[in-house]
Amino acid sequence: MLQLRDVRVVIDGHEIIRIDELDLAPGSRLGLVGESGSGKTMTAKAIAGLLPDESKVSGSVIFEGQDLLTLNDREMSKVRGKRIGFVFQDPARSLNPMMRIGKQVSEAIRIHSDLKGDAVTAKVIDLLHQVQLPEPETLLRRYPHQLSGGQQQRVMIAAAIAADPDLLIADEPTTALDVTVQEEILRLLISLSEERKMSLMFVSHDLGVIRFVCDRVAVIYGGNIVESGRIEDVVAHPMHRYTAALLAANPGMPKDDNFSAFIGKRLQTITGSVPAVGKFPSGCRFRNRCLSATDACSTMPSPITTGNDHRYLCWNPGDRGQS
């Protein structure tokens, strides 16, 4: 239902995003994982046409047979909210502090449907029920600051799915929340996507969270999708060195509360940090931080696809992880 082909995002002459191929099947849940500055949020916003004016997007974003990049602002605003919903990272800042909850949730309904008055209110109450918020009738009249972070994010989700979109893009929806609330929100997103047969694009820096929510994953580094495939395949057999390093950096869970296994052990890290925009090396963008880099890495590898549509861009693939 969603196909990205040769998508390039250029800002101030720098190529921030370069995605040759990324697919999302109807009703499936795709995780987009990467560290800060890897371009995961940019990719999500490029799909929804929410990038700032000065960014130039080329290539094609084909959504339900229609190339979204050929649409003008007016046509795109008919897609946003109605066919693509968007959940943002920080719910506290994504709700207008001076507008009642009911009005904010009903935005997409009032824009994209002919419902009026009580019918809108009824639909909003139904939506608030669906996101499992207590007492929707009183909640309608409240202001965002009267809600907890978890409740605010539920409100945002209700607002994003108000016009029954076919695709929901969630940009780190649980990053700003407590870990205890996080799981509830994740379960909510999973059940909503299953009940509504709604595709989900889930952006996160947390592979564990993506593993919990998604059936497929795409690993992004320096604006490139370096590896994609079914989540079990990628986690069990990471082919790209970056994915392997990411997985190695996860300390995992102690068995039988045996924390002593962790004591005295150094946590695996990836050396250095993501280079600034325009400072990426030529060829494989990860090669200056990769412990397995060879001369071949100075040219861009061509994608390799193995069974189950497991796709990666690496000259020295392996699943041993960095050591």
Binding site: L50, R80, E107
Partner: protein, 298 residues
Amino acid sequence: MSDTSTITAHTPEDVSVSRLRKRLRALPITLYLGGTLISLFVFVVLVSFIWTPYPANKLNLANRMAPPGTPGFLLGTDRAGRDVITELMLGARNSLYVSVVSTVVAMFVGTLIGLSIAGSNKMLQRPLTRLVDTGLALPGILTAMVIAAKLGAGNTTATIAIIAWQIPVAARVTIGPARQILALDYVEAAYSYGRKKPYVIRHHVLPNISPLLIVLGSVMFAAAILIEAALAFLGVGVQPPTSSWGRFLNETQSLLEAAPYLMFFPGIAIVLTTLGFNLLGDGLRTALDPQQSRSGLA
């Protein structure tokens, strides 16, 4: 249960009344001072429509230049024997009339221009903002002279001159905060629901910069009163026989030796009114700023 009816201290109404009282007390003193001065000003103007000590331009030739305290003329009379209190009341009327019209128009047009520039394409924003800056740099009095040369002196000229002077001010002040709001997450969220820019500006930006606009309005009001007086003083503004503080002030020039106290009457009227609006603006800014006060307005 009937016994409890004697306990009345904490009924919800009482709580809300005491809460209100607390909030009122937390408001800045400048708000009360400014509010009092402005209320007095408006009250005087309203009274002038039904009563003035003497009819407009009634010449008391027997009592020309009567000093303050003369029976029947509390603040004395001017060179032509007109009662000072009557003159001041009618001058207040003209002041209020010109400043209301010019401030309302300048605020509306200026805010509209400011919001349009803030919402325009990033490439256009800088040149358009510089254009507004150019408008700010134009000397207002000179502009008024040019307009007067075309249209002749009078209240219309004064009003147009003040509007032309204040539009860039309102526009310039609006651009920055409007741009800040447009960059916020909830604006992006509104786009993600399918809203378009004009709606976002009207329903998200405008309500959130309204505290600023209220403060701006009161400061612009003070400026309008000053400019109106200045233009009338220079003879570009309202013409005789209509009374004006500025024209009154001008007439006292020739009486500096004979009746030096006379200049203080229009002078003090102008000072108190502009001070009132400035204090009101300052008080409102404090009261509406959520970071500065815990009071109820914000």
